[in-house]
Symmetry: C2
Subunit: 337 residues, 2 copies
């Protein structure tokens, strides 16, 4: 920085008022607090000087950083970025800025606490889908020990609703999608899920099992590594020992991998096998045939989470608890009948 940027004092001096008046004129929308003429002059001078309030100083003085940290494990995965976009939309409206903080490996959560505290963020949005014990402790520490507003975004702690989360009813979605295949006349419906059993995957699985049970069908579950490259092997092995006519993938990418394997094995989609994905990502439009999928309003989930967080940060309301469920959709395309 070559030249010093103008401060509130520069404005005050040039406008012939005190810095307190400048502060009031520029911040307070309530016109009672400062004479219109004064405000006008101040605003004019501020513009002439190109004055921009120093957010850091303001934050220090008010003890509000107007910053929110998003903690996520992998920005590039699935719909994380889409959720962040939803968050950004409402963050902008409420004048918060968003700091992206990668979730550390499981053993390093202590540093995370430390970082979050140092940053003095006003709130935390948590989007890590694998909730280990350490992570759960982290969340409770942030929330209960340090009283920092916290909302879980499209993730949750199993059997624990003490921290507010925004998601969809994954169990219901898993149930519906299974019913859908059953209605098509499918009987050998498999669920492809990941080895790591994220709380949200478990909900999907529960819904699947419930629907299968109700129809007196035996559930068959394939656990894949979740890695794009080794999914193929896991799924191939599964298909070798399981005859299936319906597939539900807990993620679109898993469903698509499976679909490709089946097509290469000579199966016709959807004649021989019906396939459902989960999440309705952009992938689903690029397959051939296009993938049927459960539509998750990811952007809205992000937006809603940020709204809830905002209300906690601003109104200092009691902590929200429980799960906020948004509506999902079942999108039928070419991979189902």
């Amino acid at each position: 920085m070559s030249d010093r940027r103008p401060t509130i004092y520069d404005v005050a001096k040039k406008a012939g008022v005190s810095n307190a008046t400048v502060s009031r004129a520029l911040n307070n929308k309530l016109s009672e607090l400062v004479k219109p003429a004064t405000r006008k002059k101040v605003v004019k001078v501020a513009k002439e000087l190109g004055y921009k309030a120093n957010t850091l100083a303001k934050a220090l003085a008010t003890n509000k950083s107007t910053q929110v940290a998003i903690i996520c494990s992998d920005l590039a995965r699935g719909s994380v970025a889409e959720m962040v976009k939803g968050i950004l939309t409402v963050a902008q409206a409420y004048k918060y800025s968003i700091i992206i903080v990668p979730s550390p490996q499981d053993d390093k959560t202590e540093n995370l606490v430390s970082d979050i505290l140092s940053m003095r963020v006003d709130g935390v949005l948590y989007m890590v889908d694998e909730i280990t014990d350490k992570r759960e402790n982290f969340l409770k520490e942030i929330r209960d020990t340090y009283n920092i507003p916290l909302v879980l975004v499209n993730t949750c702690i199993q059997n624990d609703e003490s921290i507010c989360s925004v998601q969809i009813d994954y169990e219901q979605a898993g149930y519906e999608v299974t019913k859908e295949l059953i209605k098509e006349g499918r009987k050998k419906i498999a669920l492809l899920t990941t080895l790591k059993r994220y709380p949200i995957s478990i909900l999907k699985e529960n819904g699947y099992i419930k629907a299968m049970d109700e129809a007196n069908l035996t559930p068959r579950i394939c656990y894949t590594s979740g890695n794009l490259n080794s999914n193929y092997d896991d799924i191939t092995a599964f298909l070798n020992t399981n005859d299936v006519d319906g597939i539900i993938g807990v993620r679109d990418s898993i469903a698509i991998s499976c679909m490709n394997i089946m097509i290469n094995n000579g199966k016709k989609i959807p004649d021989d096998v019906s396939i459902f994905g989960f999440q309705n990502t952009r992938y689903s439009l690029l397959t051939n045939p296009e993938l049927s999928s459960v539509d998750i309003p990811v952007s809205e989930i992000g937006a809603k989470a940020m709204k809830v967080l905002t209300s906690e940060m601003e109104d200092e309301k009691p902590n929200h608890k429980g799960r906020i469920l948004l509506k999902h959709g079942i999108i039928k395309r070419g991979t189902t009948k």
Copy 2:
């Protein structure tokens, strides 16, 4: 926040030293500046109290926020998130935090300047691929008027290297990939690009044209809307009037859309038509056959950009200029011979 968090004064008092000493003990690695025993005591007390330095106060005092803004147009598109991940990796190493700032519509760049200035970020990473005049002005204002370190990430200004950018040699990549298809014996090779001619797409196009010219082949270029849904129509219309045996999509998604259309028209891939995408996204592994593509080291581009930015922010070196080019790769998979 219920309880006040401990400050440097709390530590000082309990340790029986001045706050200046605490500051030195905690910040300065150079042991000369503070007696080992003193430092030890301070560190111990700080830990006991759970003291975490207030980043905001430090930023104000040092005039360094240790925050960097990433300005991007669409976090969810292509490999933006992947680039951000690369950025985050080095940001963490250098103790910077990353604020995500959505690029405003073209007519609102003034607010952006204002926001950036208010935030007092130490540097800016710019990832918007469409560089309009207003945006170019914004960049120069940030860089030249306000002297804020700035690096373009996988984007550039056409015919202007006054602002440092990190990317790959897109013209060369476009050239190579075209040559590759020519080597296969393809003669009717089309380039599918977007209507909006981003600087980077133009480079790819230039490379394509150069290779076609050298081989005495006539370039055929299809301009699509770039939108997943309407791409189909644009491409179909193009294919109806153009007989092709080779396709290069400036983005994987465009190449894939085209591939699906051709397959549905009874074409065999790669027997009848060879296809190359650009970017080597995850999409390319999910198609059937798998898509050949130009591999862009997106994460490395982000990391490199952040490194360059760091050196500007810390060493106060003269502004970097010019383009830093990382190596790309040509990945041949099932859609080429």
